[in-house]
């Protein structure tokens, strides 16, 4: 009996020991990951310090000879860009390439005289190949937000999960953010002054994305915490109308030889004619209700009628007349669009073949 008791006590003790050890070792492995990631990150110093703009930022080393990936921000707008390595070593840096469509920049420390070698770095080729992770995946964010870390101090680390992998609808004040590809949105408050260019990694410290800037999300009108995936690759329409692909990997491969594309200022199509006359637009958010259709026009042929409400154009919600006109301006004559309209409390799908604009461009407004 006595023996049973003592062996029970022993086994409880053993299990307590095991549990405590697990936590201790688990934290240790986390610490190891941080030790592994931190040397691959740098602190950047450049323009700013006025109008609430920070003069510091973060960056990720992407090669052993000193190429650093960061976000394209105001701090690069200087002749005197400086970098502090994780051990505190200061360097002057020069800008190698900027890709505005992806909102990233490549900078370099060291030159022929003052060679930089054997730096710890993120394997970006591998990172670019990694498939996007799902919402709910645990992530770590490393950055020098608020410039809390100085010189050789390690970056501030935050833990969270990926909230979504989805398109960025960002705004800086009234301007749309240039990058419009997919981003990771995280549920930690990562996007603070100086955080841009920091690293978003998996729980194991593998690079996923570059922490973005401070932007408001147009969808919600709230601040958004997002990171640009290393695998970012978007297709844009060039000035000559031909599509072209830009990717972070391309920037990293071409380095000094990288040339950003020349893109048309605004994507102005030739305009289209539908024969739809919308209601007057006295307030900012008037829904696109049809007031009338021109007899014999494409709208008339498609049997659109007065009081129909246009809800979706090829699946895109047109919340108001402004959005409707904006969406339609991207089409060319002879294209067919799928309109979903609300009539008698039901949604109906209607195909509308677009026509050339009449000699005088007829706006879809009365």
């Amino acid at each position: 009996m006595k023996r049973l008791q003592s062996s029970l006590a022993l086994s409880i003790l053993a299990s307590i020991l095991a549990a405590t050890a697990t936590t201790a070792r688990g934290e240790e492995s986390f610490a190891q990951i941080c030790d592994k990631v931190n040397p691959k990150l740098v602190k950047l110093f450049g323009a700013g310090g006025f109008r609430g703009l920070a003069s510091y930022g973060s960056g990720a080393i992407v090669s052993p000879d000193g190429y650093i990936l960061t976000v394209n921000s105001h701090i690069l707008d200087t002749q005197d860009l400086r970098v502090h390595l994780s051990d505190g070593t200061p360097y002057h840096a020069k800008i190698v390439a900027i890709e505005p469509e992806l909102d990233v920049a490549l900078v370099k420390i060291g030159d022929n005289k003052n060679k930089v070698e054997d730096l710890p770095y993120f394997d970006v080729v591998e990172a670019a190949k990694r498939p996007p992770v799902e919402p709910g995946t645990g992530v770590l964010a490393f950055s020098n937000q608020f410039q809390i870390a100085t010189r050789d101090e390690p970056m501030s680390i935050q833990r969270g999960v990926v909230a979504s992998y989805s398109r960025l609808y960002g705004r800086i004040g009234i301007f749309e953010a240039t990058y419009k590809g997919d981003v990771y949105v995280v549920d930690a408050i990562t996007n603070n002054p100086g955080a841009g260019g920091g690293a978003l990694t998996t729980r194991k410290g593998e690079l996923l994305a570059l922490i973005g800037k401070e932007l408001r999300n147009e969808l919600t009108n709230t601040w958004i915490n997002y990171a640009i995936p290393i695998s970012a690759r978007i297709t844009v329409s060039q000035a000559d109308g031909n599509p072209a692909t830009v990717s972070i990997l391309d920037v990293l491969e071409k380095k000094e030889k990288y040339k950003p594309l020349t893109l048309p200022k605004k994507n102005e199509g030739p305009g289209v004619y539908t024969g739809i006359i919308l209601v007057a637009d006295p307030v900012e958010r008037t829904p696109p209700f049809i007031e009338d259709v021109v007899p014999g026009s494409p709208a008339d042929n498609a049997k659109l009628q007065a009081d129909d409400l246009i809800v979706y154009v090829d699946g895109i919600l047109v919340g108001d007349i402004h959005a409707y006109n904006d969406v339609l301006s991207r089409y060319h004559p002879n294209q067919t669009v799928k309109l979903e309209i609300q009539r008698d409390r039901k949604l109906q799908t209607i195909s509308l073949k677009l026509d050339k604009p009449k000699t005088k461009k007829t706006p879809d407004k009365k």
Binding site: T22, G136, Y169, I189, R203, E218, T220, T286, Q342, R345
Partner: protein, 730 residues
């Protein structure tokens, strides 16, 4: 401390392992820690996938640009802009019913469409019910019957603080068939927001308002909403988005009232309201509600409390068997109640403990303010009230009262007893007496006619307070007997408190000559500043009205305040109407007023009333933009101080508060017809009138978002001055 213990154990373990001669165990435990993370991640994703089919995406068209918010938010005026993206909803009934946050519809969209996972086409949706207590909206998907999946509910009794909770939303994700967005947190607290909400530290924001808060089994704990314990309305609590302070309404509570909400249709929308007792309790300035006694001060006529037989003076001791001893506890227990809920109260009446069963009501009937139809002559030490002006067509006019008459006695028929006449002491006493009556009541007045010694008795049936301001020609210039510092001769029947004019007779006012003109002041603690303008013709024997200016956001510089005061100088308005301007300065240069600044505003007003002769019946809060919202808030919350609220280009945020007997409040709303807030201000006018507040509404032609100046609306400004001059109408 914990770390050192950890080390201690680790060392102990290390010793143990060394003695066992193996380090395989260490490797194993590291692997285990990672497994644990991986396992949690897997569980989270499984839970999200489980709930995903019940989480819908809501898209809207049209609606207003801006949604008015309260002054609690030191942000951009004059309201918030909702995002352009889709929002989230949760299926609660297979027949196509979706619950969501009222925030998502705060801009009153003209069309609503819902995308359901697994369904190719979107559905037209209509609002069929609103829950005003928990700020939820129920949608019906037109034409959908019996085919939608309904989530499992976590019972409230099962929920514990510290449990994992996942906030799920559909705003960020473009396609409804994809996995929704997720934020991971824990249950931080239960019974929050006066017993109505679960608190979580997951990131709650417009990306998931209306979506579910789910546990690790994919069962729903609650519906995510913005919420605040201090303010009401669709957007209250929005300022806490993504802060780690988020709220969800327990789905169990939603399910409980769902049968009522399902009865709604687009044409007859069901509105669930807060269950009201219909009582007021003494609210003293600055008193902590955790210390305030639960003694009934007044009962609204026809309310649940009055019908049940409760009486003024009863002290509530228990609600539904739960003992209470302060107003905060009462609020906590009454907070979750709906109209038509039953409640059992135990009250102390003298030495008895009595039990009452009540069926709560959603609205307390509002009665218009009673109106005799006169303006009194102020600062008059003689007994009774001299009539300064008789409103044409008013009950007093019809009853034969003339300007210059002195009302000396008042009587009320109490059948079968005959009319008993009691002497009228002064203006304040007569106002107090009339305020506790109702329109339609017949009163007798003994009137001493002007000039002669002739005394008559007139019968007057009280009417309703009109929404008119005497015109410039109507209003007699002589408003005061100019004897404010003379000891009053009139003695009331049984004066419950010394006449309020006593306050003004502190000797220091006479001894020290008061400073006049535009002056800068700081508070006693020197943490806030304000400006005052005292008219050059200031006379301590005339009680002055006080206009408290709550500037629009950013207009807190001295030059801005000077400009405001100049508007009031243009026609010597302050001089002619004996008006003191008090202009507190909001601390934020960009944002506007914060709720915490209301105490400083009151302190500034008190400093002025202590220094100058002030008519406490005519202190008004005046504001523009978000300052106007602050004026509404001050008016509703500090009834003991403010008798009027005048706003320019500001709409009410949140619900209108009920009238309080004995503390009348009047409104003057000004808006330019070019102001984007025009419709919202019109709506505010309607809401206030619905609650039977006296409201003057003025729309100024060709005016946008600006303050009245020499070029525009100056006549309205003078009308505001006349309105203030006539605020002691009765």
């Amino acid at each position: 401390m914990r770390r050192s213990t950890g080390w201690h154990w680790s060392i102990g373990l290390l010793a143990l392992l060394v003695s066992l001669g193996s380090d395989r165990f260490v490797a194993l435990s590291v692997a285990r820690a990672e497994d644990l993370d991986e396992l949690q991640e897997k569980t989270i994703k499984t839970a999200v996938r489980k709930i995903a089919p019940c989480v819908v995406q809501i898209e809207t068209q049209g609606g207003t640009e801006l949604v008015a918010t309260g002054p609690s938010r030191p942000g951009a005026p004059p309201g918030i802009r909702l995002g352009t993206g889709p929002t989230t909803g949760l299926i609660v009934h297979a027949d196509g019913y979706v619950i969501s946050s009222a925030y998502n519809f705060a801009n009153k969209p003209q069309a609503i469409h819902v995308r359901v996972p697994g369904h190719k086409e979107a559905y037209v949706a209509e609002i069929v019910a609103n829950d005003q207590t928990r700020m939820l909206t129920l949608l019906k998907l037109v034409g959908v019957t019996g085919k939608l999946p309904v989530p499992l509910t976590v019972a409230k009794s099962e929920m514990l603080i510290g449990q994992t909770s996942l906030a799920v939303g559909r705003t960020l994700i473009g396609q409804v068939d994809q996995m929704p967005s997720v934020s991971v947190g824990i249950v931080s607290a239960l019974h929050r927001i006066w017993g109505k909400a679960i608190q979580t530290d997951a990131k709650i924001s417009p990306t998931n308002y209306g979506g579910p808060l789910v546990d690790l089994n994919g069962r729903v704990q609650g519906v995510l909403v913005p919420a605040s314990p201090r303010t009401e309305g669709e957007t209250a609590g929005f300022e806490w988005y993504d802060s780690g302070i988020g709220f969800a309404i327990p789905l169990e509570d939603v399910n409980r009232v769902l049968p009522r909400m399902l009865k709604g249709t687009a044409k007859e929308v069901v509105t669930l309201k807060r269950g009201l007792l219909g009582i007021t309790m003494p609210q003293q300035q600055g008193q902590d509600e955790h210390a305030a006694p639960t003694k009934i001060a007044s009962l609204a006529p026809g309310s649940a409390a009055e019908k049940s037989g409760l009486k003024v003076g009863d002290v509530i001791k228990e609600i539904d068997g739960k003992p209470i001893d302060n107003q905060a506890q009462l609020k906590q227990l009454m907070g979750p109640k709906y109209d038509s809920d039953a409640v059992v109260l135990k009250v102390q009446r003298d030495k008895d403990e009595l039990k009452f069963e009540l069926k709560l009501e959603g609205v307390v009937a509002s009665y218009p303010q009673p109106f005799l139809g006169i303006l009194p002559l102020r600062d008059d030490p003689e007994a009774g009230v001299e009539v300064r002006f008789v409103y044409p067509g008013s009950p007093a006019d019809k009853g034969g009262v003339k300007a210059g008459d002195r009302l000396t006695k008042i009587g009320r028929a109490m059948p079968p007893a005959p009319v008993r006449m009691t002497p009228i002491a002064n203006r304040d006493q007569l106002m107090d007496m009339l305020e506790t009556t109702m329109p339609g009541l017949e009163l007798s007045f003994e009137v001493k006619r002007a000039g002669g010694k002739k005394t008559e008795t007139l019968k007057i049936k009280l009417g309703e307070m009109p929404d008119t301001v005497p015109t410039k020609t109507e209003l007699p210039e002589k408003s005061s007997a100019k004897k404010a510092l003379t000891k009053p001769k009139g003695i009331g029947p049984k004066p419950p408190e010394p006449p309020k004019k006593d306050d003004k007779k502190e000797p220091k006012k006479e001894e020290k000559k008061a400073e006049l003109g535009f002056l800068k002041r700081t508070t006693a603690a020197a943490d806030h500043s304000y400006w005052i303008y005292v008219p050059e013709n200031y006379d301590p024997n005339v009680a002055h009205a006080v206009l408290v200016w709550l500037h629009p956001p950013g207009k807190n510089k001295e030059k801005d305040i000077e400009k405001f005061c100049e508007s009031w100088q243009l026609r010597y308005t302050c001089e002619d109407y004996h008006l003191i301007l008090v202009c507190p300065k909001a601390e934020s240069d960009l944002g506007g007023w914060t709720r915490s600044e209301s105490e400083f505003v009151q302190e500034a007003v008190k400093a002025v009333t202590d220094t100058y002769t002030v008519d406490r019946r005519r202190i008004i809060a005046h504001g523009m933009d978000q300052g106007g919202e602050m004026a509404f808030s001050l008016g509703f919350r500090s009834r003991g101080l403010f008798r009027g609220v005048a706003t320019t280009g500001a709409a009410l945020s949140g619900n209108v508060r009920d009238k309080t007997t004995g503390q009348p409040l009047s409104f003057f709303l000004i808006v330019g017809d070019k102001d984007p807030l025009l419709d919202a201000v019109k709506e505010s006018n309607g809401k206030l009138k619905e609650r039977k507040y006296p409201v003057i509404y003025r729309e100024i032609k060709d005016m946008g978002r600006q303050y009245i100046d020499s070029r525009i609306g100056i006549d309205t400004l003078e009308e505001v001055a006349r309105w203030i001059d006539s605020l002691d109408r009765m």
